[in-house]
């Protein structure tokens, strides 16, 4: 039995405008650029992607299923800049074959800095999913799949039945990501691990002509999935939704691949597609997994170094969470909302210097020429937040 579980991440940050030390107004976000990017990605990815998913669900009479996690800040921007995206997600959710996951509203790293803030953001995200889609998430995924034992424990207490993590080799050892696990010390929640080889074959390698398996066809991928039969229950394919049409452009054939894949997978009678909560309900945990340190799905390191790898990043994060008490005591809703939108992990990702010299990574809609520029901009905004606190 191999159940294929697709989970797509949908997220767009509120990118900051150029904010110099000489600026004094409280308008931090680049509305024009954010609208432009939202609409562009909607046209290239979200809308055609959703059309395709709806078509697949109808074509396979409900046997094709898929899960999404949509950040609160993405929902807000869709509502403002391209509401048709929200409509198309609603149509998907209404089929009953689509699941929405829980996450932090602001796609933040709050779990690392403030449990109180984390809880608040998870709950506001939950409320948003209910309000916009009439959906109650049962499975949780933390920002960028950041995960450890502690998080599992905390999220279990918040009532979630499942939680996602990267199936990194160094946490799995000899074990396979194709089973469900029990987080150490949390026996009411199940852990779903990303099969990073098969996920990355689609997300990263699909159009790479230097790759020995290029071109990747649905048939070939189907064979790889079938190989899991007997060696696992699930094939968790976790990736950014922007893989479709944005990371992998339409002309790479990614939509055709996705369109073909379900019928190839379903040809084998042992296979099916599951939403993540169905997978949690159907399969037992095959063992306990101890993950004391933070793991994520980012870069080769699969750790926190993409957001906390240099002293600018840790400084910026430290400084923003240091304001929590004062911000909350001040009771200014706009200030609070701005402060929260500044917590979005992308702001810190832009400050990453890890691969900057090679000039390749972290470039996806990165509004900055350099990590230094991004830090300077962020700190100028934060300084203005502090000014507002004083007045």
């Amino acid at each position: 039995m191999a159940s294929v579980c697709f989970y797509f991440q949908v997220h767009q940050p509120y990118r900051l405008r150029r904010y110099s030390v000489f600026d004094a107004d409280p308008y931090y976000f680049d509305d024009y650029k954010n609208a432009e990017i939202c609409r562009k990605v909607a046209t290239k990815c979200y809308l055609p992607g959703n059309r395709l998913m709806l078509d697949l669900i109808q074509r396979h009479k409900g046997r094709f299923r898929v899960s999404y996690s949509i950040s609160g800040v993405a929902v807000d921007q869709f509502l403002e800049y391209c509401p048709e995206v929200i409509d198309s997600f609603r149509a998907l959710v209404n089929t009953g074959c689509v699941e929405l996951l829980g996450e932090t509203y602001y796609h933040s790293l709050s779990f690392l800095y403030s449990r109180e803030e984390f809880r608040h953001q998870v709950n506001s995200h939950k409320a948003k999913m209910q309000e916009v889609f009439g959906y109650q998430p049962r499975v949780f995924r933390n920002t960028e799949l950041i995960y450890n034992n502690d998080l599992a424990h905390y999220v279990q207490d918040m009532g979630y039945a499942g939680i996602l993590a990267e199936g990194a080799d160094y946490i799995l050892g000899y074990r396979s990501p194709n089973f469900l696990y029990r987080p150490l010390g949390a026996d009411r929640i199940k852990l779903l691990l990303k099969n990073y080889r098969l996920s990355d074959d689609i997300a990263f390698r699909f159009s790479n002509r230097g790759w020995s398996e290029w071109p990747l066809t649905a048939e070939k991928f189907g064979r790889w999935v079938n190989e899991v039969n007997g060696n696992g229950f699930v094939v968790n394919l976790f990736m950014d939704y922007e893989t479709l049409g944005e990371h992998q452009w339409e002309d790479t054939g990614i939509f055709d691949f996705m369109s073909k894949l379900p019928e190839v997978i379903l040809e084998h009678s042992d296979n099916d597609f599951l939403r993540l909560s169905e997978s949690v309900d159907r399969y037992e945990a095959s063992g306990t997994l101890d993950v004391p340190h933070m793991v994520s799905w980012a870069d080769m390191e699969r750790d926190l170094s993409a957001w906390l790898g240099n002293s600018m990043q840790s400084n910026a994060l430290h400084e923003i969470y240091r304001l929590e008490r004062q911000i909350k005591e001040k009771g200014d809703p706009m200030l609070l909302h701005d402060w929260r939108r500044l917590q979005t992990s992308d702001h810190f990702y832009y400050m990453c210097t890890k691969w900057f010299s090679d000039g390749d990574v972290h470039k996806y809609f990165n509004p900055y020429d350099s990590p230094y520029d991004s830090y300077i901009n962020f700190m100028n905004v934060l300084d203005n937040i502090r000014q507002r606190l004083r007045h």
């Binding site: 030390v21 000489f22 240099n310 020429d369 230094y372 830090y375 300077i376």
Partner: protein, 459 residues
Amino acid sequence: MRVLMLGWEFPPFISGGLGTACYGLTRAMSEEGVDVTFVLPRAVSGDHTTHVRLIAPAAVSVKSNGRVKSMLVQQGGQIVSYHIDSLDHVTFVPVDVELSPYETEAEYAARIERLNRIRHTLSQEEMRVLETESRRTDRSICAVDSPLTGQYGRDLLAEVHRYARLVTMFAPRMEFDVIHAHDWMTFPAALAVSRMTGKPLVVHVHSTEFDRSGEHVDQRVYDIERAGMHGAAHVVAVSNLTRNLCVSRYGVDPQKVSVVYNAIDLQDSTVPTGPLTFRKGERLVLFLGRMTMQKGPDYFVAAAKKVLDKMENVTFIMAGDGDMFRRVIERAADLGIGHKILFTGFLRGDNVQKVFRMADLFVMPSVSEPFGLVPLEAMSQDVPVIISKQSGVSEVLTHVLKVDFWDINEMANKIIAVLRHAPLRETLKKHAHFEVRKFSWRDASRSCVELYERLTSRG
């Protein structure tokens, strides 16, 4: 491989990037066993020669890294060639011409006039004493002997052509496989030697007339540059920025132009390192370069004003000399920040190291900078760096801050950020420390030698 190098300035008389580049490249070639005959124009005096300095050659006498090993002297005391200690494969051939690499026509004229005035005021006896004295104290490069009796060109162009004539008098008799000439003043000489010997010519473009003069180009200089680039078998540009100029402004075949980036010798620093405190609690921002239009000192002053509107404990140091010196001082005074800007004039040797050790930040606001070596120096001294995007070095540096030279708000924004945020300084320093090690003269020299080999094997 034997190279006839028509170069500029050697330590300790380096007044800018051109000399540093010639020295770095030649030293690396010597270490690789390439034989270099280095033809060195021997200007007596720098930009601001005064009577006093001229008759006190001890003030500019040679330091240890330029110790002369052997010397071939003609009858009459004229030095024909000499060798320096650490450069085994290099033969220096000094040529008495009044050329210095950064001089403009007007500056040249003024200097020659000063020289002539000195000649007329000195008696025959004083002249003789001066010459003897200079020969006794100055054992190498900067002999003050013959210039006082020589015949200089009436203008800069004439002097450039006189240099070419002098070089063609001895160079064709020397043995070499390839000619390598640095910047326009050497091009006529190099072209002539190349024609006489049939040896391939490489011209190395460190800056063009467009960099030096903006759009007010001296047509005669442009023509020389163009003739050099077209007459050469190959052109070496110090950046893609410069390469593009060679192609677009001089019409050189792009196939014929390669980029060889400048570099820095890190092992050079024998002086103590580590930060020096300028004044407790006071931050120091440094400008170091010639005060000419090209280097954008006025933008630095404008940005300083903006910074001082926001922060108090900052002092700005402007190290360098040039035709905008007075204007910049006046500008600072007009803006009411004269007391916050220190002008040091031209700095040499240890003082450069010292000012870097005191600085919290180095800014290079160049309007036009074919490469820009000083940022590499700053990085090697662990000083965070802001450079203008209009510089060649900006193509290859990532761990520096970049601004458009005209964007003084952004320049001030970044200066303030560096001064305020220790994590920014630390991250910049940490990465720059590694990045600067990518630039080695050995690599640059190897690129040149590969080029020579390609050119000479063509038959």
